[in-house]
Amino acid sequence: MRLPLNFLFGAVLIFCVVTAAIVSIFWTPHSHIEMNISMKFADPSNLHWLGTDQLGRDVVSQLMVAAQNSVQVALVAVFIGGAIGTFLGLIASAIGGLVEDLIMRLADLGFAFPALLFAIMLAAALGPSLNNAIMAIAFINIPIFIRVSRGSANQIWQREYVYAAKAAGLTKFRISLDHILPNIMAPIIVQATIEFAVAILAEAALSYLGLGAQPPQPSWGRMLSEAQTLMYLAPELAIYPGVCIIVSVIGFGLLGDGLRDITDPRLNGSR
C-alpha cells in the first residue's frame, strides 16, 4: 500500500521534533539554564548555533528542552482526556438511554468551556502551574473523545459478531472491552494525533500567558513572551520558538489527516 503524502510529510516533521525532545533528555549543546551575561544576544556561530538570549543562554538548547516539555504535556494531557473521554463514550454507547443522554449532555457542557477559561479558573484558584495547564488541556479533550468513541461504538454495536457475543451471554462490559474498544481504536488514534497538535498550541498559549510552564522550565510559549519584550533588540528570538510550534502542529495535523486517509479511504480527496 502506498502511504499518503501528508502522512509521510507529517511523520518526518514529528520525527524531528520527537528526536530533539528525546535527545534533550541526555544531551543539549549547552546547559539550557546556564547564564553567561558576557555572551548575551550573541549571533549564531559554531558555538551557539542560533545564538544566545538576553541572559546569554543557548537558544538551541532551550528550544530542545522546550520541545521535550511540549511533547510531554501533549502526551499526558491527550492521554488523560482521551482515556476518560473514551471510557465515558463506551459507557454511553453500551448502556444507552438516560445514562447516554446524561453523558452526552456533559460532553456538550464541556464544549461550552474553552481550555483557556478552564486554565484561568484553575490558575486563579490554585495558582498558575504546568500541571494545571495539563489538567485544563485534558479537560477539553474529554468531550471530544466522548463524541468520537460513542459515535464509533454505536456503529460497532450493530455488527453481527457483537450480536453473537451477546447471544453467547457476554456482559456489556466484556463486549465493550473485548470487541468494541479494539474496533474503535482507529478513529480514536486519528483523533488523538490531531488533538496532539491542538494540545501543543494550547500549551504554548497558556505558557505565553504565564499559566503554563514556570521559570526556569523552558517552553516555546514562555520563550515567545520573553522575546516579545526584546523585539527591538533581538527580533530573531521571537521567530525560532514560533517556527518550532508551527512545525509540531503541522506535523501532528498532517499525520492525523494521513492516518485518517489510511483508515477511512472514503474521505480521500474530500478535504
Partner: protein, 314 residues
Amino acid sequence: MYFFIFNRIANFIVTIFVVSIIVFAAMNVLPGDPALTILGLDATEDALDALREKLGLNEPLIKRYFSWIINALSGNFGVSHSFSVPVSELIIERLPLTVSLAISGMLCTIFLAFVLGVFAAANHQRSGDWGVMIISQLGIAVPAFWLSILLVLLFAVKLRWLPPGGFPGWESPIDALRSLIMPTLSLTLVQSAVLARVTRSSMLEIKRQDYIRTAQASGLHPRRILWLHTLPNALIPIVTIIGMQFAALVTGTIVIENVFYLPGLGKLIFQSISNRDLPTVQALVMLFAAIVIVANFIVDIAYSFIDPRLRERT
C-alpha cells in the same frame, strides 16, 4: 417549530445553570483561602477572621452560591478586591473594546473565509485550490499570539506604520482604530483559515449531490446554481463552525488583548489573577462562558431557519 425552540431554550438555561455551578465551585471549593491570599501569609488570625466575615466566607456554600447568582442576575457581581469598585463597573468600562475586537474579528473572518473557500471550491484541484489549502493549513498551525508578534515586528518595528500596542481611548477614533488593526488581523487570519477549509469542503460535498447535477443538466447558469443551490445547502456546517469560532474568537481576544496591551476584559482577567481578585475572575469567567453558550444557542436556532429538516426531527 415552537417545540424545537422551547427545547433549545430549556437546554440553554440548564447549561448556563450548570456552568455557573462549575465556575462557583472552582473558585470556592478548590483548596485555598481567599482571605489568606488577599492579606498574605503575615496576616493575623483576627484580621483573617474579620475579612472572612466581611466577604461572607463563613456562610454555607449553597447560600453563597445562590446569593452570588441572584445578585449576578441583577448585574451585581460584587466588589473587586484589588480595584475596590463594583466588578460590574469594571466590566462596563472595558466591554466596548473587547466587543468591538470580537465583532470586527468575526466579520472579517467570515468575509475572508467565504472568499477563500468559495474560490478554492470553484478551482477544485487546480493551483488556486492548492494555494488556499496550503495557506489555510499554515493559518491553522500558527498560534494567534505568535502571528501578532510577527505583525508587530513587521508593521511596528520595521515599517513603523502602526503602534506596537496600547489603546489611546475612543476620544481619538482614528488612533483607536489604528491600534485595533493588528489585533483584528491576528484574530482574523487564524480563524478564517479554519472556516475557509470548512467552506471549501462543504461546497465540494454539495457540488457532488444529484440535485446539483440535475440543475447543471437542465442548463441553469453556473452562477445561479452556486448562489441558489450550492451555497444555501453548504451553509449548515459553515454556520456550526461559525458558532464554534465565535467562542474561539472571544477567548482569542483574551490572548490578543494581552499581546497588544489592550485594556479590555481579557487584560482585566489577567490583572485580576495576579492580584488574586477572585470576585472579578469569577464574574469574568462566567461572562466569557455565558457568551460562548449564547453563541452556541444562537447557532442552534439559526440552524432551524437554514434547514427546516432539523426542526422536524426534534
